[in-house]
Amino acid sequence: MDQQELRDLEARCIQEEPPRCQAACPIGLDARTLCAAVAAGDTSRAWAVLLRHMPLPGVLARICDHPCESQCLRNQAGDPIRIGALERAVAGVAATRARVLPMPKRAGKTAVLGSGLACLAVAWDLCAKGFAVTLLTGAKTLGGRLGEYPESLLPRAAVTAEIERLASLGVTFETGLDRGRLDPKRLLASFDAVCLGGDDPASSHLPPEAFDPETMAASEPGLFCCGIGMGGGAYSPIGAVAQGRKAALSIDRFLQKVSLTAGRAGQGRATRLYTNIEGVAALPALAMADPEAGYSSAEAAAEAARCLQCQCLECVKACPFLEHYKAYPKIYARQIYNNAAIVKGQHTANVLINSCMLCGLCTELCPEDFPMAATCLDARRDLVAKGKMPPSAHEFALMDMEFAQSEACFLARGAPLSPGEGKCRRLFFPGCQLSATKPEAVTAAYAALREIFPGEAGIMLSCCGAPARWAGREDLFDASMARLRSFWEDSGRPEIIAACPACLNMVEAGLPGAKATSLWEVLDHSDLSFPKRSSEAALAVHDPCTVRERTQVRESARRLLSRLGASCEELRFSGKRTKCCGFGGLLSEADPDLAATVGSRRAAESRADFVTYCAMCRDRLAKSGKRVLHLADLLFPGPDLDPAALPPVGVSRRRENRARLKRTVLREIFGQSPPEPGAGLILHLAPEVAAVLEKRRILEDDVRAVIAHAESSGKKFRHRQTGRFLACHGPANATFWVEYSPADDGFAVHNAYAHRMALKEGRS
């Protein structure tokens, strides 16, 4: 990412766009902050906001004609905030003696002709910029039309106070001058710049013949104007002040001899800020007890509290990851850019970069489609390319991927019993996670596919490479895809039927040209019959984030659920706006605590049991304690009476399951006899021992393997009193221990347990 790309990216996040009120204000008053301060009863902060933006705040705050109010978003949920009245209330109680600090004195003598509000604003701004200002008027008193306001609204003292402040800042006032003294062309001989005010009746005959409304510059160089077009009922105090401000800025530029126009285009443009007001209750404006006096402080606070404090944060509100880092994508883009720019020193954004779930919800919600996932994924690839990716960041997931692709688990076969050796028209790709968590569902689904497509369905047990892609390891992803491609080509370019939506996306990305279909779509379109669901309790459908762009898969899943007789409810965030379970993008590797938060928050979105159709979602949500079903639990029920209550499957168990699935498929479907240690051993288990095995999730095949190993190697312990044997065997990840004794035709099993830690070889 270069500087320009960063700026383009930052510009897509609209959180820092001004609120509508501020965008509508000709001088950009920050009314949102003003409201916050007033609501909090913090008058001095409220006054500071006015003082920062407004010339003569003691005057303007009382009489502003508030174009902001017509744009206020509150208008769509009640009445607009009465910002004008709030300003007036602040001006009425604030310690209005706060000083304006002038800039250091600068060369340049300026004259302002007229003393209306626009002229006073010009004088205020020029003074604040450090120029010498002389204000000249034919009138005897200063203020022009300001004198027309009732005392109750604009006390004469308030006008006087601001004029005195101008005087104390060094503005020279010359009043009651005759026409001769007010000739602008003559004045230009003794001043560097002159501004004519049109809103002072004593000077209103003076507007120049032509001027540029963008810069307020008249055709004569050095001559500017303000307060134009303010005659009769058209008088707008904020309009007059805005003209004055423009003129003062132009005079500043004129005196600096720089362009009057550069960089000024686009001032006052419409804001892009989006604020969601869904669920905001309508509230009317607060009525004033005494309309003539305006809001009391208490009333003002109550009225200001209605302010919606407009901001976007659509993505942050929906994503615990974006929320966790306490900012928003514009800031994150900068942090990610800086992280990449660091040559030496801490890469402080690494965890941020590695924590994005890459689920795309933020982009879906963003009015400007900010590409957070793509930004984080690019940053990961960049870290990998530079050798700066922390090795621990995705190590475990990549190890697991490697195991799923290893000889112990990998299997690729054409359709069984088909005439073309190794060929198939459909290739079932159940994915490594369903294989790891629900191997029985894989064999059942494969049986279903062979029924739907007789003689056509092959199978491939492997990992699609999604962890590599999410880790920024394109090399490993490409290798995974190359292996899939090779078998796909050899087997006759079959349609790939994937159970896991992530696999579907990976195949689409890595194997263009291959037709890839979701298992759930295939089952939906089949006429297979499935068992009816026994419970009538509604299930909340959790769409995996990987089907955000796959409407048909989502619809197929729902039709299948309806065929099963399941009544379903929709979560608020579902379909295109579904939320990630916490596994996406390998968040659970980068920040397990945050991943757990993501899972539990999602789980809490409905009290109903969840149903989903991604093995990882099922596991991550179950990890939070949620009752979650996998669609496969309903389509292909196993022996478990309450599959929603099953705990998540542990790391080692997952590996055992994958390895065992390969052996099962080879043996049961392809009639091969892979080395199955202990096959055929007859076991005798008392019911209480069988219960222990079940609880500890130790299979009888595991026990057979241990006994077979012990009996052939002789490696076993013997109990001094009972004579029973104790032996262990750890073919893959777990080590199983079995206490047993020989029985007539086989072995009696007395106990079994397992552990995942391994005894390191070579130390004795």
């Binding site: 312990f717 013997r718 109990h719 104790l726 221990w737 347990y753 552990h755 830690m757 391994a758 005894l759």
Partner: protein
């Protein structure tokens, strides 16, 4: 790393079936997900066959496994 005594009295009831020898405490290393732990386990002095009891497997070891898996 301090050595953890990871065997109990019941372990002494087992003998190595192949060597027919009583077991004796011996240093060993347990490893999981890249972390090593030094322990003392009961072992056959002849062939080195090492015992991990049910109590150890489902107690201390399980707790460490869970800690490491969640890390």
């Amino acid at each position: 790393m301090s050595e953890i005594i990871a065997y109990g009295a019941p372990d002494a009831d087992w003998v190595c079936a192949a060597c027919d020898r009583p077991l004796a405490p011996a240093p060993a290393t347990l490893t999981y997900l890249g972390s090593d732990f030094a322990v003392t386990l009961m072992r056959c002095p002849d062939c080195g066959l090492t015992l991990i009891s049910e109590e150890l497997a489902l107690g201390k070891m399980l707790r460490v496994e869970k800690l490491l898996e969640d890390k």
